[in-house]
């Protein structure tokens, strides 16, 4: 290992972190407004991945694939909200969590029955990595990272610079105060689920392009996304993104010592340490226990 290998790992980690930031952001948005860790997040990602794969197959365009993934992710999230989550919204958190596990299982089963369990790869032209000395970068990684950054930027503009975003943050901050201020909660919920679903769907397409897509793909992304969101502080969008990037780079840089299998474990260990030392997350203010 020389310095170039570490830089290569760091670049790879950055791309993986950006990719992980999308489901982590979706998790944290749902947590902020609906107040439960949504275990179906990963399966929204898978739905988006399959839709993106299908659109890419039909059109050959990555942009169309991304749009298709986003639309399918949003559709899955909204359907889950209306059919499963909304009827139990005011119940204890365990009810919502088990419901989300159920939603995830149903989505995964539907995908498994419809498309089978063979991993599918996007038909992409083979590209030569760009080399700068010993450092090599895949052009596809650059475009995927840029795409992810654009999506993240769009979500943050929406959250912090539009009236809808202000309403969403107000509800996350204090639901009662938001209600007496005349914020229409239901409209915000629908918007939030649509945004979370879109973000997941795009994540599915991006991760499908980078690797392969199969029915369990999203579930395997869930734990790292949980870890990233908890590290950043559940409910904090900025924290989720920073947590994901931090975790992505840490995971990659640690592989020379820990081996490939334990990559996911690193996220978990970091999450546990953060929970012990700073339960509110690295980038969050102190949380109220409601």
């Amino acid at each position: 290992m020389n310095y170039a290998d570490y830089i290569n790992l760091a670049i790879n980690g950055l791309v993986e972190g950006l990719l992980m930031a999308l489901p982590a952001l979706a998790l944290t948005l749902v947590y902020g407004l609906a107040r439960f860790p949504n275990a179906a997040t990963g399966d929204f990602v898978t739905v988006g991945g399959f839709a993106g794969f299908g659109m890419h197959h039909l059109s050959g365009s990555l942009v169309v694939a991304g749009l298709g993934g986003a639309a399918a992710g949003a559709a899955a999230a909204l359907a889950a909200y209306w059919l499963a989550f909304r009827p139990v919204m005011r119940r204890p958190v365990i009810t919502l969590m088990l419901t989300s596990i159920g939603v995830g299982f149903v989505l995964r089963a539907a995908l498994g029955i419809a498309f089978g369990h063979e991993p599918r790869a996007f038909e992409m032209p083979l590209q030569r990595a760009m080399r700068f000395g010993d450092i090599s970068i895949l052009p596809a990684d650059i475009s995927l990272a840029l795409l992810t950054i654009v999506v993240l930027a769009a979500v943050f503009v929406l959250l912090f610079m539009t009236p809808l975003g202000r309403s969403l943050r107000a509800i996350a901050d204090d639901p009662d105060l938001a209600r007496v201020s005349g914020i229409r909660r239901e409209r915000c919920m629908v918007a939030m689920w649509a945004i979370a679903g879109m973000v997941c769907g795009i994540a599915g397409t991006v991760s499908g392009v980078r690797t392969v897509i199969y029915p369990d793909a999203g579930w395997n992304l869930l734990l790292p996304a949980f870890a990233a969101a908890v590290i950043g502080g559940l409910g904090s969008p900025v924290g989720a993104v920073l947590g994901a990037i931090l975790l992505g780079m840490l995971q990659e840089l640690a592989t020379p010592w820990t081996g490939f299998v334990y990559k996911i474990a690193i996220g978990y260990v970091v999450m546990v340490i953060v929970l012990l030392v700073r339960p509110q997350g690295l980038f969050n203010r102190v949380q109220k226990v409601r």
Binding site: M97, I101, F105, V106, R108, A109, I113, L223, F226, M271
Partner: protein
């Protein structure tokens, strides 16, 4: 036919132990353990490795399996129980997934994905495989009776009233001067021990264990069992385990009857049904069929 009945009885017994473990944790105490499969795996691997590598008698390796699972529950409790409920779910789910990675990676002990083959049957030197299965079933029944009596006793004691009070109103318990985190850690360890014991039975019954036997699906099978059977009642846990076996066997039966359905499709279908059951029960009957009225 006789073999089939024996198999069903043993599998049901193992599910009953797991359901009792989860019912103690969730039904009575309100702890959200999404890592039950992890404790089950720890028990199975502990007993398998001890009997095979050190030649320990199952009489000692079964308690060791329970102990190992209980000890692993301790740090989890320390980490998560000071935080809100939902963190325990994330931490335990992560624990079971990471546990599976450890089983895959630490090959010098666990044989990795190839799994441990030839875990000794109980009393293998005294008789036929049939005899050792009967022996295992006998021990299993004894253990279930023991666990049920024990749980009945503690749930009807001041201790049991305290943990149920924690489930219903944690703040009130704290105001009364009891520390919920202590009780929760104890319950987590006790439940872990029961799941570990179930794992030991499983390993010596299957005689061949691989990490993929301990997927999170196992955890949610048991969740489905206690939710269908009834939360916060021991008889609910037993009923749920029976329903669960009827379900898994029913799916297997269907696979034989319907032509042209692949195993993968059946697996997906099974997953989908578990998911649907969770959604529907959570919405319409969260306390289960025979659930206690006071339970969440």
């Amino acid at each position: 036919m006789e073999t089939y009945v024996l198999t069903i009885a043993i599998v049901t017994g193992i599910y009953i132990l797991l359901s009792l473990s989860l019912d103690l944790q969730y039904g009575f105490t309100g702890l959200i353990n999404f890592g039950l499969a992890g404790f089950f795996a720890v028990g199975a691997y502990t007993s398998a490795i001890l009997t095979m590598k050190t030649g320990l008698s199952p009489l000692l390796s079964f308690p060791a399996a329970a102990l190992a699972a209980a000890l692993l529950a301790w740090p989890l409790g320390r980490i998560a129980l000071r935080l809100r409920d939902d963190y325990l779910a994330i931490v335990t789910l992560g624990f079971s997934e990471i546990g599976r990675l450890v089983l895959v990676q630490e090959q010098q002990y666990t044989e990795g994905v190839r799994g441990i083959a030839g875990v000794p049957r109980l009393g293998a030197s005294w008789g036929t495989p049939r005899f050792s299965e009967m022996l295992l079933l006998g021990m299993l029944v004894l253990c279930i009776v023991g666990v049920v009596l024990f749980l009945r006793r503690i749930t009807h004691s001041p201790y049991g009233r305290t943990i149920q009070a924690i489930r219903d109103d944690e703040t009130a318990v704290r105001v009364l001067g009891k520390e919920p985190a202590v009780f929760k850690t104890q319950v987590l360890m006790l439940g872990g021990a029961i799941a570990g014991l179930a794992g030991a039975f499983f390993a010596h019954y299957m005689t061949y264990i691989v990490p993929d036997l301990f997927l999170p699906l196992v955890t949610f099978y048991i969740w489905m069992a206690i939710i269908m059977g009834g939360v916060g009642r021991l008889r609910g846990a037993v009923a749920g385990a029976v329903i669960l076996v009827a379900f898994t066997e029913g799916v297997r039966f269907l696979r034989g009857v319907i032509p042209g359905v692949s195993d993968a499709h059946m697996g997906s279908l099974q997953l989908g049904i578990v998911g649907l059951v969770l959604i529907l029960f959570m919405r319409w009957r969260p306390q289960g069929v025979f659930g206690a009225r006071g339970a969440k």
